[in-house]
């Protein structure tokens, strides 16, 4: 199958289009939207999909409109944005560290954000917004520490992952200490937060995340060409005219911001940042970081996982992080078995 096609416009501009990648992105968007509609319709007061769509375009009755726009739409939007940020952040980190396991979960950004949130919960018994702020600060400080500690005439893939593992071990210990210090009520609240949950998210969480994504996503995509070159090694990219360290700093900063703010909004939802880029890459079958596909895959994954957790365990019994953890793990197992049968790894 011919996968690349040049699209020429009358004005003289031409774009190379990877047909398979494009199809995958469109399909993922459709899946994400379908799951969103299903998720909006799910809950103690079920709403059929047709009514959901009618309400979304402004023609539903008043009761449904309140439930949809005030209660469930912000949760779904938060889910989409968190998933997209995690997918994109994960793809960036995996590409920068050139390592499928170099995702924010392994590097300790999730744990760093958790440490910030736990500090607020355990030491100050803060409100939900303060917890989110603590998580954001924790994630940013951790990301900064990892970058500075890994810096030595440039940041290199191995060193980044190894330093991340070291930082993550320290922060995990701090988290464990905070958990043992807390009383059981705070500990229970902390554990729910640490699993990652979308319950009770409203417009206050959506707007900042949306603004951040609106700035960062175009910025990241504009630099994706340099990132793709960097996968061939620093020397080659220098030779091809990429300012390696500048692009890397910019992209890492964006990835840290995306991951930290997603974590601040929903808690460290496990495994999305690790699996989404891998899944996207396998579906598009194209080389390079596959940023757009990873972004859409993250959004689709998270919303679907939330829908599953609502359907399978009843409304808000179990947070979405449990489902992403179990489903992600089982997916990776399946992947290992099939790849092994096909003899590819």
């Amino acid at each position: 199958m011919k996968t690349n096609r040049a699209v020429r416009t009358p004005g003289g501009l031409s774009v190379r289009l990877d047909v398979r990648a494009f199809t995958v992105v469109v399909l993922l968007l459709v899946v994400a939207l379908a799951a969103s509609v299903a998720l909006i319709g799910t809950g103690d007061f079920p709403i059929p999909a047709a009514d959901v769509l009618r309400t979304l375009v402004g023609e539903g009755d008043a009761g449904q409109e309140f439930i949809v726009t005030e209660l469930r739409l912000p949760r779904v939007l938060a889910g989409l944005l968190v998933g997209a940020s995690l997918g994109l952040g994960g793809a960036l980190f995996q590409s920068i560290s050139r390592n499928p396991l170099g995702s924010p979960d392994v590097l300790g950004l999730g744990q760093g954000a958790t440490a910030g949130a736990l500090t607020v919960i355990v030491l100050f018994s803060g409100s939900a917004n303060q917890v989110a702020l603590g998580a954001l600060v924790g994630g940013l400080v951790t990301g900064f520490a990892i970058y500075v500690l890994a810096w030595k005439r440039g940041v290199h893939g191995y060193r980044l992952v190894l330093v991340g593992i070291g930082v993550s071990a320290i922060v995990t210990a701090v988290n464990g200490y905070l958990l043992t210090k807390s009383d059981i009520v705070d500990a229970a609240r902390a554990v729910v937060w640490m699993t990652g949950s979308l319950a009770g998210r409203d417009w206050d969480q959506v707007w900042p995340l949306l603004a951040l994504c609106a700035v960062l996503v175009p910025l990241v995509l504009a630099n994706s060409r340099g990132l793709r070159m960097m996968e061939m090694g620093d020397d080659v990219s220098y030779a091809l005219g990429v300012r390696v360290e500048r692009v890397r700093l910019l992209l890492m900063l964006s990835a840290v911001l995306l991951t930290a703010s997603a974590t601040a909004a929903a808690g460290p939802v496990g495994f999305v940042a690790l699996t989404a880029p891998q899944l996207a890459r396998r579906l598009t079958r194209s080389p390079g970081p596959n940023l757009v596909a990873a972004l859409c895959m993250g959004a689709a994954l998270l919303v679907t996982a939330d829908w599953i957790s609502q359907r399978a365990f009843g409304a808000d019994q179990l947070p979405v992080g449990v489902v992403t953890g179990v489903v992600g793990g089982v997916y990776l197992l399946w992947l290992l078995v099939t790849e092994r049968r096909a003899g590819r790894i």
Binding site: N99, L149, V163, G166, T172, G176, A188, T195, L336
Partner: protein, 347 residues
């Protein structure tokens, strides 16, 4: 591949010249002396300070004085630290050699997660509340997950990548299960949050007698594997050409690592950083020869573990910091320093 060492960094395993060997033997003796000192400190230091004379009295002429009781109490904890430390260090060294991967440790291969999941299951569904009860669950959980990871990683012809991926996948799935239970069951949360940080305070004679057979068998097996692991370091093809049985070595190494880290985790909770860090430190002065790395790791890991435990008792006196927290907070910066200073992929 996680981190692949470039070929030029693999030093060859030629026998060391005599004077280097003498230095290494001397270094081993010095390490033993340090270990003895740390052991004495671990018995003497705590909420009630003991003099060396009191420690001596309690160890060899116990007559039931107050000091003797304290010594007896701290002795079991110290012995547990010695055993668990050696086990974690050996397990880490074997896993790193086996997967040719400096990031390998019992945590990465899912063994800690297996033990944790089994303990949570024991507490929640079987109503086990005593340590001596859930030690066995933890052990079998670790062993089962070790075997599962080994099988998923491709058993015959497992590669480092596959093992690491299988370990990550299994621990992620188990972690989700763990979180779900801890959210739904407050009693499990109450216990687990203390167990999961890793502590030697649970050390008692019954814990020790339960794990000793496993730890001894695992240690002997690990030490016996030094030569084949040396051959494996040269790459699979060369190892085969040198007459190493690849699959047998892999299976036995996995077995040794699982037994060692499973038993250690069961006794004192998941203490992650010792197994990851000590082999790195050791390699920086022994070079890549497993016949030296393994004994050094077995002696220096308890030094780290007991030293961290003593420190935890000094810093937070009269309470204490759990040893898992101290090892991570101490070990993390050292590890980062090593990563920055050296080419870490020396395996």
């Amino acid at each position: 591949m996680l981190v692949e060492s470039p070929p030029e960094q693999r030093a060859e395993c030629a026998p060391a010249p005599p004077n280097r060997r003498a230095i290494r033997v001397l270094g081993l003796l010095v390490s033993v002396v340090i270990l003895v000192l740390v052991t004495l400190a671990s018995i003497a230091v705590g909420a009630k300070e003991l003099s060396l004379g009191q420690v001596w009295h309690g160890l060899f002429h116990a007559s039931g004085t107050y000091g003797d009781v304290v010594v007896a109490d701290r002795l079991s904890r110290t012995v547990l630290g010695l055993l668990a430390g050696a086990a974690l260090g050996l397990a880490g060294a074997v896993l790193q050699a086996l997967t040719r991967n400096p990031l390998a440790d019992p945590g990465l291969l899912g063994i800690n997660a297996g033990a944790s999941a089994a303990v949570v299951t024991a507490i929640t569904f079987f109503g086990v509340t005593s340590l001596s009860g859930y030690v066995w669950f933890a052990f079998f959980g670790a062993a089962a997950v070790g075997a599962l990871v080994w099988f998923l990683g491709g058993s015959r012809g497992a590669t480092p990548v596959r093992l690491a991926l299988a370990g990550t996948a299994v621990s992620a799935a188990l972690y989700g299960y763990l979180q779900a239970i801890m959210i739904l069951d407050d009693a499990a949360l109450g216990r687990m949050r203390f167990w999961t940080v890793g502590s030697l305070a649970s050390g008692s004679d019954s814990t020790i007698t339960q794990v000793v057979p496993f730890l001894l068998a695992g240690s002997l097996l690990a030490l016996a594997l030094a030569r084949p692991l040396n051959a494996m370091a040269m790459g699979d093809d060369t190892a085969k050409a040198l007459g190493a049985h690849l699959n047998r070595t892999r299976a036995l190494s996995m077995l040794a690592a699982t037994v060692l880290s499973g038993a250690a985790t069961a006794a004192c909770g998941p203490i992650m950083f010792v197994g990851l860090m000590v082999p790195h430190v050791v390699r920086s002065f022994t070079g890549p020869d497993q016949r030296w790395i393994l004994p050094y790791a077995a002696i220096l890991s308890p030094v780290l573990l007991l030293g961290a435990d003593v420190l935890g008792r000094i810093v937070a006196r009269p309470a204490e910091l759990q040893v898992g927290i101290v090892t991570a907070i101490l070990g993390g910066p050292v590890f980062i320093f090593l990563v920055r200073r050296r080419r870490t992929a020396q395996l």
